[in-house]
Subunit: 574 residues, 2 copies
């Protein structure tokens, strides 16, 4: 490809609406063009990158016994009514009526379509297991599209669905997909990827993993132990604490009119927040019933953990006058007698024999609280938010770090949610009708491309891994008005291209500075400079975009030499 | 791929809603599944076929200097408002409001998106010409989806857009695309394809070609001369006639109360329909003004030709009481004096010196009509419908045949329609702002697959050309419970697959008849049968799906032999 004919402009300054480097670089480099909020067209370089990512994904899915299929983008609402999601999904789903008045939707995901395709045909246990996947356009009306291709409304996604006759077989295959995902991200050149076991969710019991590319611009937060490699979502990371007995004191009611916050109390009682029994109030969405979580004063509640424990949706509580709750002075002693209030004790309170807590009476606190003595048989659950320096639940060392990540893929044990609701059955060996057990596995193609750019760039442009680079080699012809330079560069272009190397050829009559700036934005791994100086020396000047190597190679044999550099580089991503 | 694990059912009887063979075979063969009117999911075999077609298209588009890009499926209405098509397109376009209340549409075609992508970047004449294309999902809310993938509402399409600075350059490139299309259809194995120069359309002056696969199930009608290869759409096919003078008679008004039809008149006057001057009445859509077309009595008017000549939309006329038209007795003599009526004389009337026509008076006709003598200076235009056996306008032989065809591709000189309305300009060499001239080029991928199936099948299934076949070789293991047979078949499968041959392996324990019926439906070009009989003889039984060859090959060296059959077959589609 000649740069002179390549559609797309490169420019120097980042557009003001780009707050993320990868977004700015991909706009500045002529990779994509904004059409509407979260909707982009892709220029050739970006399309080449996403096609290479798709080829890697396809290869790994095929190796994992996947059958590539194609589901519709536009679907009748009827199959989403079967699963119940037509009603449960909100304004993220695009909906319209077709010319006959039928309700239609745009696919955000294709569990319904997968069951629809499979249910009439896989009717015997002998037909199982199988996996079907597609790589296709999806639309989700995201309220907060951001970061260029990181979070868009229209996107290309690989979505795969596996069907099994036993949990054991799903477990086995889930592991196959887990490994395929590791291969995909490695082959695409993503470096800092961790698989995070995530929130088991409201549905209870199902395992899923999110593959996170660690990045400061990520929207997800992950706890990682650098010592043992443990990683977990915030809501899945267990907080392990050991409290040492400090010596019991009697429960004593104290007048504390000036104490409204933990800080006030630590000052008043001259003790630390870890000696406080803090109350956090929530309400159930269903009936506004109160939930009071008690937790050690230096910790916070992780709402998702609490939600999962309660198996119901909750929101921060508003304490009304007739609530039976004394805002600012809430404590466990006596509160449990109010049957309208659900009380949860975080495990961080276990083993503390002497705490400060509210006395459920305005302007009064208790000191000397001992939960077992003063409240009785307390059940402790882990609803605390993990923190930097927490003890790793796997190896026990207090080295937990809190990291940001971009979710670049997820795998999920779905169970029978869709096969049950959509009435997909097979006959097992004994002739009994059963619902198959499903897994699903997704990767957003554009987001992965943008995430790799985010991870692998410098101030001047992306540094594309060879495996997904738009081209493998860029030739910079610094003097296309010089006959020798021109013929050397053009010959190299022709010979490399005809020997199967993907070459971008900058044949424009522009200043070297401008050409190099564009080359940095193209991010092509190998750069070959041809100039009067190199011609004089009988060489080409070759450099790697990642600055790992720079040197001259003789014009004689240059094609073979460059091919070797490309193939050596490609080998790193096998 | 093992058939035992392939998702999709084959069955014997065509579903009752399939009226076209290819549709029936592709449903019976487990290629596709109906989800809603004109909306299908594709099983793996069909996805493999369409991917191969896409690869052929991509290769030819790249050779034609195309840059593969990606436009959104979901677009803001705003860019369709710029071109004016948001208002002019009707219910074929899917529309909805996004969560912010913006009007959105699903792309039916991407001229607007192409101009949007290109307009800010190709601002100098030196940036031209260029071509961008994509292969992607489109949605058109077709009122009459039919024939399986032949006419659907959601489909995958290759759409390409070229931009030029002169008509000459568009002409040059149009020819490049024309040849690329010929290559694509040949390589995909479509046999009877003709390029038809089509209706220049209401917009006037623009050239386009439709590529038609000749088929009885086609919805388009084409005139073809088998002698010289001339082909044209019905509305573009010129009707050439020569009328010989038969000897003039005087104009004579005759009482014909019983004559209402051409048949009545031929009986009454004992002459042929070709001696009649027939009137056909239309009305303009704009103001209901009357248009009367006179044509030789044995011919019909082609409405599109008439419409294009008049440069206005028309519909069949309803003759009212005050119309000044005497229904059933319309003739040219005297009618021209009514200035409210537009009169058109078809060229088929030229040179006839003695005709029967209406006398514009109830129950009266004229005989002896001579247009030049009785009406005056008549302008003849070609608005006649061409017919079987008409004279070829190219070679002059009376051998025109009328054929049905499926439109499998089209190329179109768009001109500046979109660049003008969407204000895309470049500066020419003299610094003047100009609108680029566009061409556009489309191919429906699924329709091409279905059309090839329609052209290439027998009663038992599709006969896929090697270049697009879902697999290249199918191994039928007739006795998977026989150890020798099983090990021979499995070994062949492994060896062929690992040497890069695409193999479907029927490893099921079913009757040979059922296995062969399925193999016919898979339509794989090369079939290898392994059975106790072949094992005894030390051979594999090989046959071609198209019945062109059948024979035994020795087990020793079978892999090489089969590879050669495959590559010889592939070579036919280069």
């Amino acid at each position: 490809m000649k740069v002179s004919k390549l559609l797309g402009q490169r420019f120097k300054n980042a557009p003001s609406d780009c707050v993320i480097e990868s977004h700015a670089l991909m706009v500045r480099g002529g990779y994509m063009k904004y059409m509407a909020n979260g909707i982009y067209s892709l220029f050739m370089p970006c399309k080449r990158i996403t096609r290479k990512i798709e080829a890697i994904i396809r290869d790994e899915m095929d190796k994992a016994d996947g059958q590539e299929v194609m589901f519709p983008v536009a679907m009748p609402a009827s199959i989403w009514e079967e699963s119940g999601r037509y009603g449960s999904i909100g304004s993220e789903m695009a909906r319209w009526k077709d010319r006959s008045g039928n309700n239609m939707v745009l696919g955000m995901t294709h569990e319904e379509a997968a069951v629809h395709l499979a249910r009439d045909t896989a009717q015997s246990y002998a037909d199982y297991p199988f996996m079907i996947y597609q790589i296709q356009t999806k639309f989700r009306d995201e309220p907060r599209a951001r970061g260029g291709l990181i979070r868009v409304r229209e996107f290309t996604m690989k979505d795969a669905y596996s069907f099994h006759t036993s949990e054991e077989d799903l477990d086995r295959y889930y592991d196959v997909q887990y490994k395929a995902y590791e291969n995909i991200f490695r082959r695409a050149g993503a470096k800092n990827v961790v698989a995070v076991k995530s929130d088991s969710g409201m549905m209870g019991g199902n395992v899923s993993h999110e593959f996170m590319l660690l990045s400061e611009i990520g929207e997800d937060t992950i706890a990682i132990c650098p010592d043992c490699g443990y990683s977990a979502n915030m809501e899945a990371a267990e907080v392990k604490l050991e409290n040492k007995p400090s010596g019991a004191s009697p429960l004593e009611k104290i007048h504390t009119p000036e104490c409204k916050t933990i800080d006030d109390l630590t000052n008043r009682f001259n003790t630390s927040a870890s000696s406080m029994c803090k109350a956090v109030v929530y309400q159930r969405n269903s009936d506004d019933g109160y939930v009071v979580a008690f937790i050690r004063g230096d910790l916070d509640v992780n709402e998702t953990k609490l939600r999962n424990y309660l198996k119901t949706e909750i929101h921060p509580g508003i304490v009304g006058e007739n609530s039976g709750i004394c805002a600012g002075f809430i404590g466990p002693v006596g509160l449990a007698e109010n049957k309208d209030i659900t009380i949860v004790f975080d495990a961080s309170l276990r083993g503390i024999d002497n705490m400060i807590c509210g006395a459920n009476e305005t302007d009064y606190h208790y000191s000397g609280l001992n939960l077992v003595r003063d409240v009785g048989n307390v059940e402790y659950v882990d609803v605390a938010k993990i923190f930097e320096g927490a003890v790793c639940p796997a190896c026990g060392k207090p080295h937990i770090t809190i990291n940001k990540g971009i979710e670049i893929g997820n795998i999920f044990k779905l169970g029978t949610k869709y096969t049950k609701s959509m009435d997909m059955t097979y006959l097992d060996a004994s002739g009994e009708a059963k619902n198959p057990i499903m897994g699903c596995y997704g990767i957003g193609v554009g987001r992965l491309a943008a995430s790799i750019c985010q991870e692998s760039h410098d101030d001047y442009g992306p540094i594309w891994p060879m495996s997904i680079a738009p081209w493998q080699v860029e030739i910079c012809n610094l003097r296309c008005d010089d006959e020798t330079v021109n013929s050397q560069a053009s010959k190299l272009y022709d010979e490399l291209a005809s020997s199967g190397v993907e070459v971008l050829y900058d044949d424009r009559n522009i200043r070297p500075g401008a050409m190099f700036a564009d080359a940095d934005l193209f991010g092509v791994p190998v750069r070959v400079v041809v100039s009067p100086k190199t011609a004089d020396r009988g060489v080409f000047e070759v450099s790697m975009r990642d600055k790992s190597w720079k040197g001259d190679i003789a014009i004689d044999g240059a094609v073979e030499e460059i091919k070797k550099i490309v193939s050596d580089e490609l080998a790193k991503y096998r």
